[in-house]
């Protein structure tokens, strides 16, 4: 069965650089969630999209922005990177009317 795809799997950036993380949901899934998991932390909800519109927002810094495109893939754009942005970023997708969201393998971002 198809799963959620995230790219890249690993990313190394310098402070103050920008990064773009991509998420490709399971086919026919119209909702995407982004979570951030810092070292030794639990995953924290950042933002979600339903049918290409932002549906919910969590503790996402103003330096971050995201969108969902017409093909339902989503991108998380991160600017002015800080050391504290180093984390595992998960994307999850869900089909409307289904209760379960499916997680991708995550993108590990390291900011040096």
């Amino acid at each position: 069965a198809a799963g959620v795809i995230q790219s890249p799997r690993h990313l190394i950036k310098e402070k103050r650089e920008t990064a773009t993380l991509k998420c490709y949901p399971i086919p026919r899934h119209d909702t995407v969630y982004w979570y951030q998991q810092g070292p030794g932390q639990d995953p924290q909800f950042l933002i979600s999209f339903y049918e290409k519109m932002q549906s919910d927002k969590g503790s996402i810094p103003d330096r971050f922005s995201a969108q969902q495109f017409s093909d339902y893939h989503s991108e998380l754009n991160m600017s002015s990177l800080e050391l504290g942005d180093s984390a595992l970023y998960f994307c999850a997708s869900r089909r409307d009317r289904d209760n379960e969201q499916f997680f991708g393998p995550g993108t590990r971002l390291t900011v040096l």
Partner: protein, 118 residues
């Protein structure tokens, strides 16, 4: 506001012993409830979930969990632990989607690290 508490940060059990990981939640109504397992540096694997119905749910790898409404708990159990069960375990809650305005985002507990002694 929704919250999830996993009281035990670290648990060590001997291989073959039984296991119970605690999870308590705070929510105005019965939420969706999940248990995930994560190996170091890896993604989140769903062990089991509770949406409605039978309060004892079976999951993968021999795990089960029991929803107790009166205690706002969803504890994870396994009768006999294997060395390969050593990992981080997260309990999570999600607001019910049939309620208008709920978007399905998950709130995670702080996690419980399980060590298995040979």
């Amino acid at each position: 506001a929704q919250s999830v508490t996993q009281p035990d940060i670290h648990i060590t059990v001997s291989e073959g012993a039984s296991l119970e990981l605690r999870c308590n939640y705070s929510y105005g109504a019965t939420p969706y409830l999940f248990w995930y397992v994560q190996s170091p540096g890896q993604g989140l694997q769903l062990l089991l979930k509770y949406f409605s119905g039978d309060t004892l749910v079976q999951g993968i790898k021999g795990f089960e969990a029991e929803f107790k409404r009166s205690q706002s708990s969803f504890n994870l159990r396994k009768p006999s632990v294997h060395w390969s069960d050593a990992a981080e375990y997260f309990c999570a809650v999600g607001a019910r989607l049939e309620v208008a305005g709920n978007t399905g985002k998950l709130i995670f507990g702080q996690g419980t690290t399980l060590q298995v002694k040979p």
